[in-house]
């Protein structure tokens, strides 16, 4: 598995692994600094309440406690009490609503009103987390509970409770996305079908929760913040803004990050209050989120309610889709309306939809804020589209595969521009791919044509088999850019500095492979520094399956420039034309002469100059280059998932018999890593379909706050996933790649629910919700059996 020579496209082992496999990795909680203190938060036990008074006297008196801080204690250090809005939701200006209210983001610590269970109210800093947690019990807070809004439906009930005491109505944003003329479409439609869909997505649950450690260096007048974040530059920007500092006075560093999946792509209140505490106390302060806190306070995606209608002509071709979608925004909005907007723009997916009209309402509730979790609104849109097609196929009486074949964007129609716009204002344009091919391959592999025979055979043993499949697209590689600087040191060592943030996606390996290929060095020798604001001034970090596309393209462009420069310097030093030279093994050689060469380090020394002398002619200082690749539009990955399930009618258990994925992510930099991203993503989607439910009671009190109550998929629920790649190069970047992090998640729930419904066909059960948990399956089967006035077919 050790490779020499170019590694692009090869299954090479990762540079990250040796330290992770031996316990030498350094996650934020692994950092211990002499004099370091540890923190815990007193959090609201109420979904909605007024904070009348806080008495911290007893807590402060506990031995080992160094500080007990409320928002009043933080205020002198703050330029404002609320965290600034991360995305301004400019897309609203093109829609009905002009902007969002300005008081929608979370406060740094609770003001006089708490709006979800888990909202941080008091920060305790002590010698250890054990003592800080002891002190929680000693803080006396007088709350006046208020009525809470537990879900979308009650939020929209006229005269019902308010999420925020002073804000009338609970609708944060309302907008309509539309194109074409749906009303005219329905006039000629042969078929009209309506569906009500209830969709739920749970939490992100990286195995490492959030965590932050801040240290103020009084000598250097500089604060360093180590955070388990997907967006170190964004965190720095927010912190310097809130604390009124210059960029140089505060750095954010990401140590090893144990997964993100969206939950770490924002600046949280804890990152602000811990930083202030460290500066106030003059000692390093660390806070590590525990799992219960992750359930209560890390962003989720949660609920969307859809009411949608599809119009089709006599040949089952889509004429249009119209509907309404309501999205549970939670109590605060740290980052705009991007989840609902993503969902709204992703409904057509790989299908031709001539007219479209979706009214969207982002609705506040007294629950933790929602933001993108892996998939970012696309799974819900895909579920809506695929459910509509399944429903139409059944009602019209044509095969599920056939109705899709008739409506997919055809091979020869690519690239395909839809009338929809991304939030950057660019058209939703599918740059490359072959959707009918992916579906055909997936169905062939799952044995779709032979399925009825398998179903019948299983039915003879009283077993219920079903097959389902779904197609999806995912816009990846969001801009505006990601920085990469490639630098050859005077020792000859090659380094890459990037604003990209690693959290398990193999960022270092990916960038090292790209750069090593250009500079003719071993990729294991390339040093990658990611997610550290000390080394790059700008960066946007990890979201929207974007880092390979953006940082990878920048690293490629930068290393091409460095290579050209190295050749140019060598050409002068050796007095040979550039085309007589070649680069390999970290040296530039005179072609055909094994005794004439210059190391990259020699060339870097030349490019750094000698005091008082000139640089080689035409050479800019330094053997390095910084590139900021700016994508012209989103790059669309796509995939088809096909799944065969067995449903146990008595227990409602769903067994995944086979799971087939055909995926098009463009060129594969490292197929081993791409497989891991797509399969891992699919299992996240399997969780969303069958296991993961973040429950709240009717008072908005969370009721699933452990892994025993909220189930993640484990080894025993999963079949061996069969993955095939189809490669259509993206024309939008120099590497021909597309993002891989989320496309595996998106069609999973749609495919699985379709299969479960198919298995329950003898009962006529319809499933218009996700997740579908065993008790619900049993209830649906029983309801249908009761309705039919029989116990259902025994083993027909």
């Amino acid at each position: 598995m050790r490779h020499t020579g170019p590694t692009f496209g090869k299954r090479v082992e990762r540079v990250e692994d040796a330290s992770l496999l031996t316990g030498r990795a350094r996650f934020v909680d692994d950092i211990r600094i002499p004099g370091m203190l540890e923190a815990a938060y007193v959090r609201s036990p109420f979904p909605h309440a007024l904070v009348r008074s806080i008495d911290v006297t007893q807590a402060r008196a506990l031995e080992g406690v160094h500080a007990v801080l409320t928002v009043a204690d933080l205020r002198p250090a703050l330029t404002q009490e609320r965290i600034p809005l991360a995305l301004s939701s400019k897309e609203l200006s093109g829609l009905a609503q002009k902007s969002l209210r300005d008081d929608i983001t979370p406060p740094v610590l609770a003001l006089d009103e708490v709006c979800y269970v888990g909202e941080p109210v008091v920060l305790i800093v002590a010698d250890s987390r054990y003592i800080a947690e002891d002190a929680i019990a000693l803080v006396a807070i007088d709350y006046e509970p208020l009525e809470a809004v537990a879900d979308i439906t009650s939020a929209l009930t006229a005269g019902g409770p308010r999420v925020h005491r002073d804000i009338d109505g609970n609708v944060l944003a309302e907008y309509v996305l539309s194109y074409g003329d749906y009303e005219r479409a329905t006039a000629t439609a042969a078929h009209l079908f309506q569906l009500d869909l209830k969709q739920h997505r749970g939490c992100a649950h990286p195995l490492e929760g959030r965590g932050v450690l801040a240290m103020h260096d009084a000598l250097e007048q500089r604060t360093t913040v180590w955070s388990s974040t997907q967006s170190p530059h964004e965190v720095r920007l927010t912190l310097v803004q809130l604390l009124g500092l210059d960029d140089e006075e505060l750095h954010v560093v990401t140590p090893d990050v144990g997964g993100g999946f969206g939950a770490k792509y924002l600046t949280y209140p804890e990152e602000v209050s811990i930083t202030i505490a460290a500066r106030l106390l003059g000692r390093p302060v660390k806070w590590i989120e525990d799992r219960r806190e992750h359930f209560l306070t890390a962003i989720q995606e949660r609920d969307q309610l859809w009411q949608v209608e599809i119009a089709l002509d006599a040949e089952a071709r889509i004429l249009g889709i119209k509907g309404e979608m309501m999205h549970d925004q939670g109590a605060y909005t740290p980052q705009g309306i991007n989840v609902s907007y993503n969902s709204a723009t992703a409904v057509p997916g790989p299908y031709k939809v001539p007219s479209y009209e979706l009214r969207v309402r982002a609705v506040e509730t007294n629950k933790v804020p929602t933001m993108p979790v892996r998939g970012a609104g696309y799974p819900q849109a895909t579920f809506a589209m695929e459910r509509l097609l399944d429903h139409a196929a059944r009602e019209i009486g044509i095969d599920r595969a056939e109705i899709r074949r008739r409506n997919l964007i055809q091979t020869e129609e690519m690239p395909y521009t839809t009338p929809l716009k991304t939030r950057a204002g660019t058209p939703v344009k599918y740059d490359s791919g072959d959707f009918p091919l992916c579906q055909a391959m997936a169905l062939d592999q799952i044995g779709y044509d032979g399925f009825e025979a398998r179903r019948a055979e299983a039915a003879r043993d009283g077993r219920l088999l079903g097959v389902g499949f779904a197609n999806a697209t995912k816009g990846t590689g969001r801009g505006p850019f990601e920085t990469a600087t490639v630098r050859v040191g005077r020792s000859g060592r090659v380094s890459v500095y990037t604003g990209a943030a690693a959290m398990g996606q193999s960022t270092a390996t990916m960038l090292a492979q790209i750069v090593a290929d250009q500079l003719g060095v071993e990729f294991g020798q390339v040093n990658v520094v990611a997610g550290d604001t000390r080394y790059t001034s700008m960066g946007h970090g990890g979201f929207a399956s974007r880092q390979a596309v953006n940082a990878g393209s920048s690293a490629h462009e930068a290393s091409v420039k460095v290579r050209e420069k190295a050749l140019l310097i060598a050409s002068q030093l050796l007095e040979q034309p550039v085309d007589a030279l070649e680069l390999s093994g970290g040296r530039i050689w005179l072609k055909g002469q094994s005794n004439v060469s210059l190391g990259l380090g020699d060339l870097a020394r030349e490019a750094s100059g000698i005091p008082g002398y000139s640089l080689p002619k035409g050479i800019e200082p330094g053997l390095e280059h910084t590139a900021n690749f700016m994508p012209k539009g989103l790059v669309y990955s796509n995939g088809c998932h096909a799944v065969e399930v067995e449903v146990d009618r008595a227990t409602g258990a769903v067994r995944l018999e086979r799971y087939v994925i055909v995926s098009d992510c463009g060129e594969l930099i490292n197929p081993m890593v791409v497989d891991g991203q797509v399969i891992g993503g699919a299992v996240h989607g399997i969780g969303n379909a069958l296991f993961e439910w973040m429950g709240y009671d009717e008072m908005a009190q969370p009721i699933t706050t452990t892994f025993a109550e909220y189930l993640l998929p484990t080894t025993t629920e999963l079949p061996r996933i069969e993955l095939t790649h189809v490669v259509h190069r993206s024309p939008l970047n120099p590497l021909g790649i597309k993002g891989v992090g989320e496309v595996g998640t998106i069609p999973a729930a749609a495919a699985i629910i379709s299969a479960v419904e198919d298995a329950l066909r003898p009962f006529g059960v319809r499933i218009d919700e996700t997740p579908i948990l065993p008790p619900r399956i049993v209830a649906l089967v029983n309801a249908s059996s009761t309705a039919a006035g029989a116990s259902g077919p025994a083993s027909s």
Binding site: M1, E13, R14, E16, D17, A18, L20, L21, T22, G23, R24, A25, R26, F27, D29, D30, R32, S128, Y130, D134, H205, P206, L207, E208, G209, D256, V257, G258, G259, F261, I288, D290, R291, R292, M503, G504, Q505, S506, M672, V673, D675, G676, I679, G680, G681, A682, V683, H684, T706, F707, A708, L712, P713, T714, T715, T716, L718, R720, I721
Partner: protein, 165 residues
């Protein structure tokens, strides 16, 4: 609240003696007192398995066991799993994980490796279903487990000498 007791524990073959809080968990003892931060805490309620270590050869949850309960016992952690003679210090199981991409963020990995170390010691002929069952108490959010299972089976084959390496 802060009663202490002196314990002696063998950790990765080394004898360690400390005066500790009686309420200190084994995982926190390893991480805080001994600086063995390879044992990770993912849920602190005994489900995710990230903190799995071996106590007298048996896999236990480091978050659910108190350090005082480990007194007089022998503890093995991820830091004691390597092979100093092998490339990058990786033992057979660790090397198989690297070859099969059995880890992404790597946070759950130490617990998974310890669980598998116990399995392969007890059950050298482990099949895929044995591996999946053994790992059903370890959560991973990145990989979907597939490559973890492949790596474990590969390690089993090698440890059995069925594969000439």
């Amino acid at each position: 609240m802060s009663r202490t007791r002196r314990i002696e524990v063998e950790v990765n073959g080394r004898s360690e003696a400390r005066e500790i809080d009686v309420r200190l968990t084994l995982a926190d003892f390893l991480r805080r007192e001994l600086g063995l931060t390879g044992t990770h805490l993912g849920c602190e309620h005994g489900v995710c398995g990230a903190c799995t270590v071996l106590v007298d050869g048996r896999a236990v949850r480091g978050c659910l066991m108190l350090a005082v309960q480990a007194a007089g016992r022998s503890v093995r952690t991820i830091e004691g799993l390597g092979d100093a003679e092998a490339p990058d210090g990786l033992g057979v199981l660790q090397a198989a994980f690297r070859e099969h991409h059995g880890l992404q963020c790597g946070f759950c990995t130490p617990g998974i490796l310890m669980t598998l170390t116990e399995l392969l010691a007890k059950c050298p002929d482990a099949t895929e279903s044995d591996v999946r069952l053994a790992l059903s108490g370890n959560l991973c959010r990145c990989t979907g487990y597939q490559t973890i299972v492949s790596a474990a089976l590969e390690a089993a084959r090698r440890l059995n000498g069925k594969l000439a390496s």
